[in-house]
Protein backbone atom coordinates (compact mmCIF):
# COMPACT_ATOMS: atom_id res chain seq x y z
CA UNK A 1 0.00 0.00 0.00
CA UNK A 2 1.56 3.26 -1.12
CA UNK A 3 2.00 6.00 1.47
CA UNK A 4 1.96 8.67 -1.19
CA UNK A 5 0.25 8.30 -4.53
CA UNK A 6 0.52 10.97 -7.21
CA UNK A 7 -1.77 10.42 -10.18
CA UNK A 8 -1.73 12.18 -13.55
CA UNK A 9 -0.61 15.56 -12.34
CA UNK A 10 -0.88 18.46 -14.80
CA UNK A 11 0.57 21.78 -13.67
CA UNK A 12 0.71 25.06 -15.57
CA UNK A 13 2.58 28.32 -15.05
CA UNK A 14 0.25 30.67 -16.89
CA UNK A 15 -0.11 29.03 -20.30
CA UNK A 16 3.10 27.06 -20.05
CA UNK A 17 2.65 23.45 -19.05
CA UNK A 18 5.25 22.40 -16.49
CA UNK A 19 4.02 18.90 -15.66
CA UNK A 20 2.19 16.48 -17.94
CA UNK A 21 0.49 13.51 -16.39
CA UNK A 22 3.09 12.91 -13.70
CA UNK A 23 2.38 9.80 -11.64
CA UNK A 24 4.48 8.11 -9.02
CA UNK A 25 4.27 6.30 -5.72
CA UNK A 26 6.21 6.32 -2.50
CA UNK A 27 5.92 3.43 -0.07
CA UNK A 28 6.47 3.76 3.63
CA UNK A 29 10.13 3.54 4.61
CA UNK A 30 11.47 3.99 1.09
CA UNK A 31 13.98 6.49 -0.22
CA UNK A 32 12.70 7.63 -3.59
CA UNK A 33 14.75 9.80 -5.93
CA UNK A 34 13.32 12.07 -8.59
CA UNK A 35 16.06 12.88 -11.03
CA UNK A 36 16.20 14.96 -14.15
CA UNK A 37 17.84 17.93 -15.81
CA UNK A 38 17.29 21.59 -15.03
CA UNK A 39 13.72 22.60 -15.82
CA UNK A 40 12.46 19.02 -16.05
CA UNK A 41 9.80 19.70 -13.42
CA UNK A 42 11.34 18.23 -10.28
CA UNK A 43 10.84 21.27 -8.06
CA UNK A 44 7.41 21.89 -9.58
CA UNK A 45 6.43 18.36 -8.61
CA UNK A 46 7.46 18.93 -4.99
CA UNK A 47 5.80 22.35 -4.82
CA UNK A 48 2.55 20.87 -6.11
CA UNK A 49 2.82 18.06 -3.60
CA UNK A 50 3.11 20.40 -0.61
CA UNK A 51 0.50 22.83 -1.92
CA UNK A 52 2.70 25.78 -2.85
CA UNK A 53 1.32 25.70 -6.39
CA UNK A 54 -2.03 24.32 -7.55
CA UNK A 55 -2.44 21.52 -10.05
CA UNK A 56 -4.80 21.76 -12.97
CA UNK A 57 -5.51 18.06 -13.15
CA UNK A 58 -4.66 14.98 -11.18
CA UNK A 59 -4.74 13.73 -7.64
CA UNK A 60 -2.34 13.50 -4.70
CA UNK A 61 -3.22 10.96 -2.03
CA UNK A 62 -1.26 10.73 1.22
CA UNK A 63 -2.13 7.97 3.68
CA UNK A 64 -5.51 7.40 1.97
CA UNK A 65 -6.42 11.06 2.17
CA UNK A 66 -6.81 13.27 -0.89
CA UNK A 67 -4.52 16.26 -0.25
CA UNK A 68 -4.66 17.76 -3.74
CA UNK A 69 -6.60 20.84 -2.61
CA UNK A 70 -5.22 21.17 0.89
CA UNK A 71 -3.38 24.49 1.41
CA UNK A 72 0.37 24.42 2.02
CA UNK A 73 0.19 25.44 5.68
CA UNK A 74 -1.97 22.41 6.53
CA UNK A 75 0.26 19.86 4.80
CA UNK A 76 2.89 19.91 7.57
CA UNK A 77 0.38 18.79 10.15
CA UNK A 78 -0.50 15.82 7.98
CA UNK A 79 3.09 14.61 8.28
CA UNK A 80 4.92 15.89 5.21
CA UNK A 81 7.89 18.22 5.73
CA UNK A 82 9.48 20.01 2.80
CA UNK A 83 13.12 21.10 2.71
CA UNK A 84 12.96 23.62 -0.11
CA UNK A 85 15.48 24.24 -2.84
CA UNK A 86 17.98 26.90 -1.85
CA UNK A 87 17.33 25.98 1.82
CA UNK A 88 15.26 29.11 2.52
CA UNK A 89 16.08 29.27 6.19
CA UNK A 90 14.96 32.44 7.99
CA UNK A 91 18.17 34.46 7.74
CA UNK A 92 17.17 37.06 10.33
CA UNK A 93 16.22 34.54 13.01
CA UNK A 94 18.87 32.66 14.94
CA UNK A 95 19.45 28.93 14.63
CA UNK A 96 17.29 28.00 17.61
CA UNK A 97 14.43 30.26 16.46
CA UNK A 98 14.58 28.63 13.04
CA UNK A 99 14.24 25.20 14.62
CA UNK A 100 11.30 26.41 16.68
CA UNK A 101 9.61 27.67 13.52
CA UNK A 102 9.86 24.09 12.26
CA UNK A 103 7.76 23.00 15.24
CA UNK A 104 5.20 25.75 14.61
CA UNK A 105 2.26 23.36 14.37
CA UNK A 106 3.21 21.39 17.48
CA UNK A 107 1.83 22.31 20.87
CA UNK A 108 3.66 20.36 23.58
CA UNK A 109 6.63 22.43 24.78
CA UNK A 110 8.36 19.54 26.50
CA UNK A 111 8.24 17.38 23.39
CA UNK A 112 9.50 20.25 21.29
CA UNK A 113 12.51 20.63 23.61
CA UNK A 114 13.14 16.93 23.17
CA UNK A 115 13.06 17.26 19.40
CA UNK A 116 15.49 20.18 19.56
CA UNK A 117 17.90 17.99 21.52
CA UNK A 118 17.51 15.22 18.93
CA UNK A 119 18.26 17.64 16.11
CA UNK A 120 21.32 18.93 17.99
CA UNK A 121 22.49 15.37 18.45
CA UNK A 122 22.26 14.75 14.73
CA UNK A 123 23.77 18.12 13.85
CA UNK A 124 26.20 19.05 16.66
CA UNK A 125 27.35 22.03 14.63
CA UNK A 126 23.90 23.60 14.95
CA UNK A 127 24.10 23.43 18.73
CA UNK A 128 27.41 25.26 18.72
CA UNK A 129 25.77 28.01 16.70
CA UNK A 130 22.33 28.04 18.22
CA UNK A 131 22.21 31.74 19.01
CA UNK A 132 23.90 32.81 15.79
CA UNK A 133 21.88 34.51 13.04
CA UNK A 134 21.06 31.84 10.48
CA UNK A 135 22.04 34.11 7.60
CA UNK A 136 25.66 34.02 8.77
CA UNK A 137 25.98 30.23 8.55
CA UNK A 138 27.91 28.58 5.73
CA UNK A 139 25.97 26.92 2.91
CA UNK A 140 26.42 23.44 4.35
CA UNK A 141 25.37 24.55 7.81
CA UNK A 142 22.31 26.24 6.34
CA UNK A 143 21.42 22.97 4.63
CA UNK A 144 21.73 21.18 7.95
CA UNK A 145 19.54 23.82 9.57
CA UNK A 146 16.94 23.45 6.83
CA UNK A 147 16.89 19.69 7.38
CA UNK A 148 16.82 20.07 11.15
CA UNK A 149 13.98 22.55 10.86
CA UNK A 150 11.99 20.10 8.72
CA UNK A 151 12.59 17.28 11.20
CA UNK A 152 11.20 19.50 13.97
CA UNK A 153 7.69 18.84 12.68
CA UNK A 154 8.23 15.09 13.28
CA UNK A 155 7.33 14.23 9.71
CA UNK A 156 6.28 10.82 8.45
CA UNK A 157 7.71 11.78 5.09
CA UNK A 158 10.44 14.29 4.33
CA UNK A 159 10.66 15.86 0.90
CA UNK A 160 14.06 17.29 -0.02
CA UNK A 161 14.78 19.53 -2.95
CA UNK A 162 18.40 19.58 -4.15
CA UNK A 163 19.98 19.22 -0.71
CA UNK A 164 23.49 18.97 -2.18
CA UNK A 165 23.26 22.02 -4.42
CA UNK A 166 26.18 24.41 -4.08
CA UNK A 167 27.91 22.43 -1.35
CA UNK A 168 31.53 21.34 -1.16
CA UNK A 169 32.15 17.61 -1.77
CA UNK A 170 32.75 16.99 1.95
CA UNK A 171 29.42 18.51 2.86
CA UNK A 172 27.70 16.64 0.04
CA UNK A 173 28.84 13.35 1.52
CA UNK A 174 27.81 14.46 5.00
CA UNK A 175 24.34 15.49 3.80
CA UNK A 176 23.81 12.15 2.04
CA UNK A 177 24.93 10.28 5.16
CA UNK A 178 22.38 12.23 7.15
CA UNK A 179 19.63 11.47 4.65
CA UNK A 180 20.39 7.78 5.13
CA UNK A 181 20.29 8.21 8.90
CA UNK A 182 16.95 9.97 8.69
CA UNK A 183 15.63 7.16 6.55
CA UNK A 184 17.01 4.52 8.92
CA UNK A 185 15.23 6.27 11.79
CA UNK A 186 11.92 5.53 10.05
CA UNK A 187 11.14 8.62 8.02
CA UNK A 188 10.17 8.09 4.40
CA UNK A 189 12.28 10.19 2.03
CA UNK A 190 11.41 11.75 -1.32
CA UNK A 191 14.56 13.24 -2.78
CA UNK A 192 14.99 15.53 -5.76
CA UNK A 193 18.55 15.75 -7.01
CA UNK A 194 20.63 16.85 -9.94
CA UNK A 195 23.46 14.81 -8.50
CA UNK A 196 21.89 11.66 -9.94
CA UNK A 197 24.75 9.36 -9.06
CA UNK A 198 24.64 10.20 -5.39
CA UNK A 199 20.87 10.13 -5.28
CA UNK A 200 20.64 6.74 -6.99
CA UNK A 201 23.31 5.33 -4.69
CA UNK A 202 21.13 5.84 -1.61
CA UNK A 203 17.64 5.44 -3.13
CA UNK A 204 15.52 2.30 -3.30
CA UNK A 205 13.70 3.38 -6.43
CA UNK A 206 13.82 6.37 -8.73
CA UNK A 207 11.79 8.23 -11.33
CA UNK A 208 13.34 10.16 -14.19
CA UNK A 209 11.66 13.39 -15.27
CA UNK A 210 12.16 14.95 -18.67
CA UNK A 211 10.36 18.13 -19.77
CA UNK A 212 7.51 17.60 -17.36
CA UNK A 213 6.99 13.90 -17.96
CA UNK A 214 8.15 10.78 -16.21
CA UNK A 215 10.14 8.93 -18.84
CA UNK A 216 11.66 6.13 -16.83
CA UNK A 217 11.32 4.51 -13.45
CA UNK A 218 12.68 1.53 -11.63
CA UNK A 219 15.01 0.23 -8.97
CA UNK A 220 17.81 2.64 -8.28
CA UNK A 221 20.47 -0.03 -8.84
CA UNK A 222 19.05 -0.90 -12.26
CA UNK A 223 18.94 2.77 -13.24
CA UNK A 224 22.55 3.21 -12.15
CA UNK A 225 23.49 0.60 -14.73
CA UNK A 226 21.08 1.76 -17.43
CA UNK A 227 22.98 2.95 -20.50
CA UNK A 228 20.69 5.86 -21.35
CA UNK A 229 20.81 7.08 -17.74
CA UNK A 230 24.57 6.72 -17.64
CA UNK A 231 24.87 8.81 -20.75
CA UNK A 232 22.36 11.50 -19.86
CA UNK A 233 22.77 11.93 -16.11
CA UNK A 234 25.83 10.18 -14.80
CA UNK A 235 28.35 11.61 -17.25
CA UNK A 236 29.81 8.24 -18.14
Amino acid sequence: MAMLKVENLDVYYGIIQALQGVSFEVNQGEVIALIGANGAGKTTTLHTLTGLIPSKKGRIVFEDQDITKIPAHKIVEMGIAHVPEGRRIFADLNVLENLKMGAYTRKDKGEIEESIEQVYKRFPRLKERQSQRAGTLSGGEQQMLAMGRALMSKPKMIVMDEPSMGLSPIFVNEIFDIIQEVSAAGTTVLLVEQNAKKALSIANRAYVLETGKIVLSGDADDLLNDDSIKKAYLGE
Binding site: G51, E77, R88, F90, A91, Y104
Partner: protein, 294 residues
Protein backbone atom coordinates in the same frame (compact mmCIF):
# COMPACT_ATOMS: atom_id res chain seq x y z
CA UNK B 1 13.71 77.15 27.87
CA UNK B 2 11.63 77.56 24.73
CA UNK B 3 13.95 75.16 22.89
CA UNK B 4 13.16 72.41 25.40
CA UNK B 5 9.49 73.15 25.09
CA UNK B 6 9.70 72.90 21.27
CA UNK B 7 11.67 69.71 21.62
CA UNK B 8 9.02 68.13 23.85
CA UNK B 9 6.27 69.22 21.48
CA UNK B 10 8.25 67.74 18.65
CA UNK B 11 8.64 64.43 20.47
CA UNK B 12 4.93 64.41 21.17
CA UNK B 13 3.96 65.06 17.54
CA UNK B 14 6.65 62.60 16.51
CA UNK B 15 5.14 59.97 18.79
CA UNK B 16 1.89 60.24 16.85
CA UNK B 17 3.77 59.92 13.54
CA UNK B 18 5.59 56.94 15.02
CA UNK B 19 2.37 55.13 15.94
CA UNK B 20 1.02 55.72 12.43
CA UNK B 21 4.35 54.75 10.88
CA UNK B 22 4.22 51.41 12.70
CA UNK B 23 1.10 50.55 10.70
CA UNK B 24 2.86 51.39 7.43
CA UNK B 25 6.03 49.59 8.29
CA UNK B 26 4.44 46.39 9.63
CA UNK B 27 2.15 46.06 6.64
CA UNK B 28 5.06 46.72 4.30
CA UNK B 29 7.21 44.21 6.13
CA UNK B 30 4.62 41.45 5.86
CA UNK B 31 2.62 42.14 2.72
CA UNK B 32 5.31 44.12 0.82
CA UNK B 33 2.78 46.79 -0.03
CA UNK B 34 2.25 50.45 0.84
CA UNK B 35 -1.16 50.91 2.36
CA UNK B 36 -1.84 54.51 1.42
CA UNK B 37 -5.30 54.27 2.95
CA UNK B 38 -3.71 53.96 6.39
CA UNK B 39 -3.90 57.72 7.07
CA UNK B 40 -7.62 57.71 6.36
CA UNK B 41 -8.22 54.90 8.83
CA UNK B 42 -6.87 57.36 11.43
CA UNK B 43 -9.47 59.91 10.41
CA UNK B 44 -12.26 57.31 10.63
CA UNK B 45 -10.99 56.36 14.09
CA UNK B 46 -11.10 59.98 15.24
CA UNK B 47 -14.66 60.39 13.93
CA UNK B 48 -15.75 57.28 15.80
CA UNK B 49 -14.35 58.66 19.08
CA UNK B 50 -15.90 62.08 18.44
CA UNK B 51 -19.36 60.72 17.71
CA UNK B 52 -19.26 58.19 20.53
CA UNK B 53 -18.45 60.92 23.02
CA UNK B 54 -20.56 63.81 21.72
CA UNK B 55 -23.60 61.99 20.33
CA UNK B 56 -23.75 58.79 22.38
CA UNK B 57 -22.23 60.20 25.56
CA UNK B 58 -19.87 57.27 25.97
CA UNK B 59 -16.97 57.40 28.42
CA UNK B 60 -13.83 58.54 26.47
CA UNK B 61 -11.82 55.42 27.30
CA UNK B 62 -14.64 53.16 26.10
CA UNK B 63 -14.98 55.38 23.04
CA UNK B 64 -11.31 54.85 22.17
CA UNK B 65 -11.69 51.10 22.64
CA UNK B 66 -14.74 51.05 20.36
CA UNK B 67 -12.84 53.12 17.83
CA UNK B 68 -9.96 50.61 17.96
CA UNK B 69 -12.40 47.77 17.34
CA UNK B 70 -14.01 49.61 14.41
CA UNK B 71 -10.63 50.44 12.84
CA UNK B 72 -9.34 46.89 13.35
CA UNK B 73 -12.34 45.48 11.50
CA UNK B 74 -12.09 48.20 8.86
CA UNK B 75 -8.40 47.42 8.27
CA UNK B 76 -9.07 43.70 7.96
CA UNK B 77 -12.00 44.35 5.61
CA UNK B 78 -9.92 46.66 3.40
CA UNK B 79 -7.22 44.00 3.17
CA UNK B 80 -9.66 41.24 2.37
CA UNK B 81 -11.76 43.13 -0.17
CA UNK B 82 -9.28 45.45 -1.85
CA UNK B 83 -5.76 44.03 -1.48
CA UNK B 84 -5.94 40.27 -1.09
CA UNK B 85 -7.36 39.61 -4.59
CA UNK B 86 -4.37 41.51 -6.02
CA UNK B 87 -1.70 39.81 -3.93
CA UNK B 88 -0.43 37.75 -6.86
CA UNK B 89 -1.05 40.42 -9.47
CA UNK B 90 1.72 40.62 -12.04
CA UNK B 91 2.50 44.26 -11.22
CA UNK B 92 2.96 45.59 -7.66
CA UNK B 93 1.53 48.86 -8.94
CA UNK B 94 -1.96 47.32 -9.06
CA UNK B 95 -2.25 47.13 -5.29
CA UNK B 96 -0.57 50.51 -4.81
CA UNK B 97 -3.12 52.21 -7.04
CA UNK B 98 -5.91 50.31 -5.29
CA UNK B 99 -4.63 51.64 -1.96
CA UNK B 100 -4.85 55.20 -3.29
CA UNK B 101 -8.39 54.39 -4.43
CA UNK B 102 -9.32 53.08 -0.99
CA UNK B 103 -7.92 56.28 0.50
CA UNK B 104 -10.22 58.44 -1.65
CA UNK B 105 -13.11 56.10 -0.97
CA UNK B 106 -12.72 56.50 2.80
CA UNK B 107 -12.37 60.29 2.54
CA UNK B 108 -15.50 60.57 0.44
CA UNK B 109 -17.40 58.15 2.61
CA UNK B 110 -16.57 60.35 5.60
CA UNK B 111 -17.61 63.39 3.59
CA UNK B 112 -21.05 61.88 2.99
CA UNK B 113 -21.54 60.64 6.54
CA UNK B 114 -19.93 63.42 8.60
CA UNK B 115 -20.01 66.42 6.22
CA UNK B 116 -17.25 68.70 4.97
CA UNK B 117 -17.11 71.24 7.78
CA UNK B 118 -14.38 70.96 10.39
CA UNK B 119 -15.58 69.53 13.69
CA UNK B 120 -13.89 70.63 16.86
CA UNK B 121 -12.57 67.67 18.81
CA UNK B 122 -13.22 67.85 22.53
CA UNK B 123 -10.34 67.70 25.00
CA UNK B 124 -10.79 64.26 26.51
CA UNK B 125 -7.39 63.79 28.11
CA UNK B 126 -7.81 64.95 31.67
CA UNK B 127 -4.23 64.48 32.85
CA UNK B 128 -2.99 67.64 34.57
CA UNK B 129 -0.24 69.75 32.98
CA UNK B 130 3.19 69.72 34.57
CA UNK B 131 4.84 73.03 35.27
CA UNK B 132 8.64 73.06 35.51
CA UNK B 133 11.32 75.72 36.06
CA UNK B 134 9.01 78.21 37.78
CA UNK B 135 6.33 77.91 35.16
CA UNK B 136 8.64 78.67 32.26
CA UNK B 137 8.18 75.16 30.93
CA UNK B 138 4.66 73.73 30.82
CA UNK B 139 4.04 70.24 29.51
CA UNK B 140 0.37 69.54 28.82
CA UNK B 141 -1.39 66.39 29.89
CA UNK B 142 -2.03 65.54 26.24
CA UNK B 143 1.69 65.69 25.50
CA UNK B 144 2.49 63.43 28.43
CA UNK B 145 -0.24 60.94 27.51
CA UNK B 146 0.92 60.86 23.89
CA UNK B 147 4.54 60.13 24.73
CA UNK B 148 3.66 57.50 27.34
CA UNK B 149 1.24 55.78 24.96
CA UNK B 150 3.90 55.69 22.28
CA UNK B 151 6.44 54.10 24.62
CA UNK B 152 3.93 51.47 25.78
CA UNK B 153 3.03 50.61 22.19
CA UNK B 154 6.68 50.25 21.21
CA UNK B 155 7.46 47.99 24.16
CA UNK B 156 4.30 45.95 23.62
CA UNK B 157 4.93 45.44 19.91
CA UNK B 158 8.59 44.57 20.41
CA UNK B 159 7.56 41.96 22.95
CA UNK B 160 4.81 40.64 20.69
CA UNK B 161 7.00 40.30 17.60
CA UNK B 162 9.97 38.72 19.36
CA UNK B 163 8.43 36.62 22.08
CA UNK B 164 5.09 35.31 20.91
CA UNK B 165 4.36 32.58 18.42
CA UNK B 166 2.22 34.85 16.22
CA UNK B 167 4.92 37.50 16.33
CA UNK B 168 7.59 35.07 15.20
CA UNK B 169 5.21 33.86 12.49
CA UNK B 170 5.04 37.49 11.31
CA UNK B 171 8.81 37.69 11.12
CA UNK B 172 8.91 34.44 9.19
CA UNK B 173 6.22 35.59 6.74
CA UNK B 174 7.98 38.90 6.21
CA UNK B 175 11.17 37.07 5.32
CA UNK B 176 9.84 34.28 3.13
CA UNK B 177 6.14 33.60 2.58
CA UNK B 178 6.69 30.25 0.90
CA UNK B 179 9.02 28.92 3.56
CA UNK B 180 6.62 30.20 6.24
CA UNK B 181 3.79 28.18 4.66
CA UNK B 182 5.99 25.09 4.72
CA UNK B 183 6.34 25.58 8.48
CA UNK B 184 2.56 25.42 8.78
CA UNK B 185 2.00 29.16 9.16
CA UNK B 186 -1.27 30.43 7.73
CA UNK B 187 0.07 33.34 5.69
CA UNK B 188 -3.35 34.85 4.93
CA UNK B 189 -4.25 34.92 8.60
CA UNK B 190 -0.89 36.45 9.48
CA UNK B 191 -1.31 39.24 6.93
CA UNK B 192 -4.83 39.85 8.21
CA UNK B 193 -3.53 40.05 11.78
CA UNK B 194 -0.93 42.60 10.71
CA UNK B 195 -3.58 44.82 9.18
CA UNK B 196 -5.67 44.40 12.33
CA UNK B 197 -2.83 45.55 14.59
CA UNK B 198 -1.80 48.44 12.34
CA UNK B 199 -5.37 49.68 12.05
CA UNK B 200 -6.05 49.33 15.77
CA UNK B 201 -2.99 51.49 16.39
CA UNK B 202 -4.28 53.96 13.79
CA UNK B 203 -7.38 54.47 15.96
CA UNK B 204 -5.16 55.41 18.91
CA UNK B 205 -3.13 57.72 16.68
CA UNK B 206 -6.33 59.39 15.44
CA UNK B 207 -7.47 60.05 18.98
CA UNK B 208 -4.07 61.45 20.06
CA UNK B 209 -3.72 63.54 16.90
CA UNK B 210 -7.11 65.17 17.31
CA UNK B 211 -6.50 65.69 21.02
CA UNK B 212 -3.38 67.69 20.17
CA UNK B 213 -4.77 69.41 17.06
CA UNK B 214 -8.50 69.52 17.74
CA UNK B 215 -9.94 70.04 14.30
CA UNK B 216 -11.37 67.09 12.41
CA UNK B 217 -12.32 66.91 8.72
CA UNK B 218 -12.47 63.98 6.26
CA UNK B 219 -8.97 65.02 5.12
CA UNK B 220 -7.41 65.10 8.58
CA UNK B 221 -5.63 61.78 8.11
CA UNK B 222 -4.10 62.49 4.72
CA UNK B 223 -1.14 64.70 5.63
CA UNK B 224 -0.14 62.88 8.85
CA UNK B 225 -0.46 59.67 6.84
CA UNK B 226 2.01 60.89 4.22
CA UNK B 227 4.35 62.17 6.91
CA UNK B 228 4.20 58.92 8.85
CA UNK B 229 4.93 57.08 5.63
CA UNK B 230 7.93 59.39 5.25
CA UNK B 231 8.92 58.56 8.81
CA UNK B 232 8.72 54.84 8.07
CA UNK B 233 10.95 55.23 5.00
CA UNK B 234 13.24 57.53 6.96
CA UNK B 235 13.70 54.90 9.68
CA UNK B 236 13.99 52.04 7.20
CA UNK B 237 10.69 50.60 6.01
CA UNK B 238 9.90 47.21 7.52
CA UNK B 239 11.72 48.01 10.77
CA UNK B 240 9.69 48.58 13.95
CA UNK B 241 12.36 50.55 15.86
CA UNK B 242 13.06 52.40 12.61
CA UNK B 243 9.45 53.56 12.39
CA UNK B 244 9.60 54.76 16.00
CA UNK B 245 12.85 56.69 15.66
CA UNK B 246 11.90 57.97 12.21
CA UNK B 247 8.55 59.22 13.50
CA UNK B 248 10.01 61.01 16.50
CA UNK B 249 12.84 62.60 14.49
CA UNK B 250 10.34 63.76 11.91
CA UNK B 251 8.13 65.36 14.56
CA UNK B 252 11.09 67.10 16.16
CA UNK B 253 12.39 68.39 12.82
CA UNK B 254 8.94 69.66 11.90
CA UNK B 255 8.36 71.54 15.17
CA UNK B 256 11.89 72.99 15.32
CA UNK B 257 11.60 73.96 11.66
CA UNK B 258 8.32 75.73 12.37
CA UNK B 259 9.78 77.49 15.41
CA UNK B 260 13.14 78.59 14.09
CA UNK B 261 12.90 78.74 10.34
CA UNK B 262 9.41 79.22 9.00
CA UNK B 263 6.09 77.59 9.63
CA UNK B 264 5.36 77.75 5.90
CA UNK B 265 8.38 75.74 4.84
CA UNK B 266 8.44 73.32 7.81
CA UNK B 267 6.85 70.56 5.73
CA UNK B 268 9.32 71.16 2.93
CA UNK B 269 12.18 70.83 5.43
CA UNK B 270 10.78 67.50 6.61
CA UNK B 271 10.75 66.11 3.08
CA UNK B 272 14.15 67.63 2.30
CA UNK B 273 15.61 65.73 5.27
CA UNK B 274 14.05 62.55 3.93
CA UNK B 275 15.66 63.09 0.53
CA UNK B 276 19.06 63.68 2.12
CA UNK B 277 18.78 60.56 4.30
CA UNK B 278 17.81 58.45 1.31
CA UNK B 279 20.70 59.81 -0.74
CA UNK B 280 23.18 58.94 1.99
CA UNK B 281 21.58 55.70 3.17
CA UNK B 282 19.00 54.42 0.68
CA UNK B 283 17.63 51.77 3.04
CA UNK B 284 16.78 54.36 5.73
CA UNK B 285 18.32 54.68 9.18
CA UNK B 286 17.54 51.16 10.39
CA UNK B 287 17.00 49.45 7.05
CA UNK B 288 19.21 46.50 6.49
CA UNK B 289 21.37 45.88 3.51
CA UNK B 290 20.17 42.58 2.26
CA UNK B 291 23.02 40.19 1.82
CA UNK B 292 22.19 36.66 0.96
CA UNK B 293 24.41 33.68 0.83
CA UNK B 294 23.98 31.65 -2.29
Amino acid sequence: MSFISYLINGISLGSIYAIIALGYTMVYGIAKMLNFAHGDVIMIGAFVVLNMVTLAGVNPIIAVLISMAVCTLLGMAIEKIAYKPLRNASSPLAVLITAIGVSYFLQNLALIIFGADAKSFPNLITLPSISLADGKLVITGTTIATIITCVIILLGLTFFVNKTKQGRAMKAVSEDKGAAMLMGINVNATISLTFAIGSGLAAIAGFLLCSAYPSLTPYTGAMPGIKAFTAAVFGGIGSIPGAMIGGILLGVIEILGKAYISSQVADAIVFAVLIIVLLVKPTGLFGKNIQEKV
